[in-house]
């Protein structure tokens, strides 16, 4: 009986273990390999990269990591920063506050000398004090909730312009361009989403529009029929979704399925090609998105070169925030060169007075760490792809 039981277990576990280890040891090119996590050795500059590797935002995590990695590889090929090679140490934060805190502690214990990463504001927020205590530069490529700068950390630098710029642009778009009279705003209860929703609501009201009570949808919800019924009965004539793209796809699909053709606008968390494909059958056609200038709308030869290099290295198109990841790493290295030192405190000081030209525009930071020099635009889905909306507010 004992041996039979052992045999059953063995015959099931052995193939499972073999399968899992085989799968994890052959990373697909598009998934982006994480560098092995090592303590800093002499002659290397260890940079921590907390990003979502699991969970609903794993796809976005990969595109940001690839942007950072592209910059790192280019810098290392040119000799590294001040003669040291950059080594990346990626940790999963799953776009979740708790996992992010663990990841932050892990990175600090590994002795990273700077952090470039996090995608979600909800993951970045609890990690801020951890990196501040460690005294290392904390550069965020995409997290842009105003709650982050409100913490008041001196080592925080946001590459993505903060939510209040997005809210102002959205307000102008809804009131002046779409001429909407009743706007329904929905968030997914995450830090970034709630922030943008509230700021947008205030901005739209200040600009003269009417905002219906903000709908907070749980981020695991798949069914929007109840919300759609509310939309119908309230007579809303435009929607602003401030959550992420997976739910945006579900929302717009069910919205159009219910026969509602009112304009559907998303905030930058949902601006992603996956939104268009997962919404299915042209449901995303005509949808708008507010976002800080993304990769494909960057002008200049540098931008074209970036897109080509990215495609060559990762066999995929860059994501909306890949260029921000790239600029974040460039900003870090630029500051280290300006300070002529890799010492974290000196790099932080140099970052505060940094002004370089990045892919996403001129990169410099205000006193509270928020980005200056980039701006938000409105995109529109035309023929299954994002383009600049014909009428910008």
């Amino acid at each position: 009986m004992q041996t039979r039981r052992m045999a059953t277990w063995a015959s099931v576990l052995v193939p499972i273990v073999a399968l899992v280890s085989a799968c994890s040891s052959t990373p697909a090119a598009s998934q982006g390999t994480a560098a092995p996590t090592t303590a800093p050795t002499a002659g290397t500059y260890l940079v921590g990269v907390p990003i979502p590797q699991t969970g609903s935002e794993a796809q976005s995590g990969t595109t940001i990591f690839n942007g950072i990695k592209l910059a790192t590889d280019q810098i290392n090929a040119a000799g590294g920063v001040l003669g040291q090679k950059i080594v990346l140490s990626a940790q999963d934060d799953a776009c979740d506050p708790q996992t992010s805190t663990n990841a932050a502690n892990k990175l600090v214990s590994l002795g990273v000398q700077a952090v470039v990463g996090a995608y979600c504001s909800s993951a970045a927020l609890p990690a801020i004090p951890i990196y501040e205590r460690a005294g290392i530069p904390n550069l965020q490529p995409s997290a842009n909730s105003t709650k982050l700068t409100a913490v008041g950390a001196k080592n925080l630098f946001l590459l993505d312009p903060t939510g209040n710029f997005q809210a102002d642009l959205a307000a102008k778009f809804f009131v002046n361009v779409l001429k909407a009279t009743k706007v329904l705003i929905a968030n997914d209860q995450s830090t970034y989403s709630v922030d943008v929703a509230k700021l947008a609501g205030d901005a739209i009201t200040a600009a003269g529009g009417t905002v219906l009570p903000i709908q907070a949808v749980p981020n695991t919800a798949q069914d929007f029929s109840a919300v759609i019924t509310t939309i119908r009965s309230s007579g809303a004539d435009a929607i602003y979704w401030t959550g992420y793209y997976a739910q945006a796809a579900l929302f717009v699909r069910q919205l159009r399925g219910a026969g509602l053709t009112i304009p559907f606008v998303t905030a930058d968390g949902s601006v992603d090609p996956t939104f268009i494909t997962n919404a299915g059958a042209g449901n995303a056609e005509g949808a708008y998105g507010t976002i800080a200038t993304t990769t494909q709308f960057l002008t200049g030869s540098d931008a074209a070169k970036f897109v080509a290099d990215y495609k060559a290295a990762f066999s995929a198109d860059p994501g909306p925030y890949s260029a921000y990841g790239y600029d974040a790493m460039m900003a870090l290295v630029g500051a280290a060169k300006a300070a002529n030192s890799l010492d974290p405190a000196k790099v932080i000081t140099a970052l505060h007075s940094l002004k370089i030209d990045g892919l996403t525009g001129s990169v410099s930071f205000a006193a509270d760490g928020s980005r200056q020099g980039a701006k938000f635009v409105v995109l529109k889905v035309v023929n299954g792809a994002y383009q600049m909306a014909p009428t910008q507010p």
Binding site: A221, T229, S233, G257
Partner: protein, 301 residues
């Protein structure tokens, strides 16, 4: 009433899914006294299997309904077999263990399935778009747009639930199942093959989860490796609400939970929907601890 009536219609559709998955939960609890937390993940794996089958056999668009039906049936079989495999490998050796240990094992299976799917490269972490899109044509009922597809899904759910009810209450096999759930030792003494009955119960539960998965994926159009967790939790709640161990109760509980969530959303906003639904659950259990249609726990004399 203006707000509630359309929400009830919306909730009926949601409830159809919950009911289907809840029946599986209920049946397994009935025979094994086990809350199979992995049941939601049988649902998830079935969705991914149907996704791969559809991609492999090139079913695209809305034209090929015959092929889609075959894929749906195949997915039900796969869901059932997965459930049977898990029962054989994980739960059977633990049959005499404490209920708590079984529940922890179920949680473990859930995590294994979720992370297993996450690490399979062709499935992985990205939210996948389902290859088949149903047509949107439908009609208006009480201010809600009901697509014919939605009616079809509700219909299929009712038919499958009815089928299971018929098996459990009108066939010899069903009598054996009810005997096993009532008193396993006595049933064994009566010559019922416990192992076979339990495997059949798991197969039916898994097959129902597979059917629900195909229909949900078809309608919502998006699958992810975490989709089973939330649905499983709600299905479990529905089963408890209706009376766990009871097929009809699970179906009723499912519809009721769907309607409660939809009405809660309409009245208070989506952030309060779950709170509203669970408050009703707590109240119901307070008044009827075994659920709405649950058997009253008898007094042993």
């Amino acid at each position: 009433m203006d707000v509630i009536a359309p929400e009830i219609v919306a909730g009926l559709f949601l409830g159809a899914f919950f009911g289907l998955v809840a029946v599986g939960y209920s049946m397994v609890y009935g025979v094994l006294r086990l809350i199979n937390f992995a049941h939601g993940d049988f649902y998830m794996v079935s969705a991914y299997v149907s996704y791969t089958l559809l991609l492999t056999f090139g079913v695209a668009g809305t034209a090929n309904w015959g092929n889609f039906l075959i894929v749906g049936l195949a997915t039900m079989v796969v869901g059932g077999l997965l459930a049977v495999a898990v029962e054989r490998v994980v739960y059977r050796p633990m049959r005499s263990a404490a209920t708590l240990s079984l529940m922890i094992a179920a949680l473990g299976v859930s995590l294994v399935l979720e992370n297993g799917v996450l690490n399979i490269p062709i499935w992985g972490s990205a939210y996948r778009a389902y290859p088949v899109t149903p047509p949107n044509a439908g009609f208006e009922l009480l201010g809600v747009h009901l697509a014919w597809v939605q009616l079809l899904i509700i219909g299929v759910s009712l038919v499958l639930t009815g089928l299971v009810y018929w098996i459990v209450n009108r066939t010899l096999l069903g009598t054996a199942m009810r005997a096993v759930s009532q008193d396993r030792a006595a049933a064994a003494l009566m010559g019922i093959e416990i192992d076979r009955i339990i495997s059949i119960v798991f197969f039916i539960g898994g097959a129902l989860a597979g059917a629900a998965a195909v229909m949900a994926s078809l309608y919502y159009g998006q699958i992810s490796y975490l989709m089973g967790f939330y649905v499983g939790l709600q299905a479990f709640t529905a089963a408890v609400l209706g009376g766990i161990g009871n097929v009809l109760g699970a179906a009723v509980g499912g519809f009721l939970l769907g309607i409660l969530e939809a009405v809660g959303t309409g009245l208070l906003g989506p952030q309060w929907a779950l709170l509203f639904a669970f408050s009703v659950l707590v109240l119901t259990l307070w008044v009827r601890p075994t659920g709405l249609l649950g058997e009253r726990v008898g007094q042993r004399v």
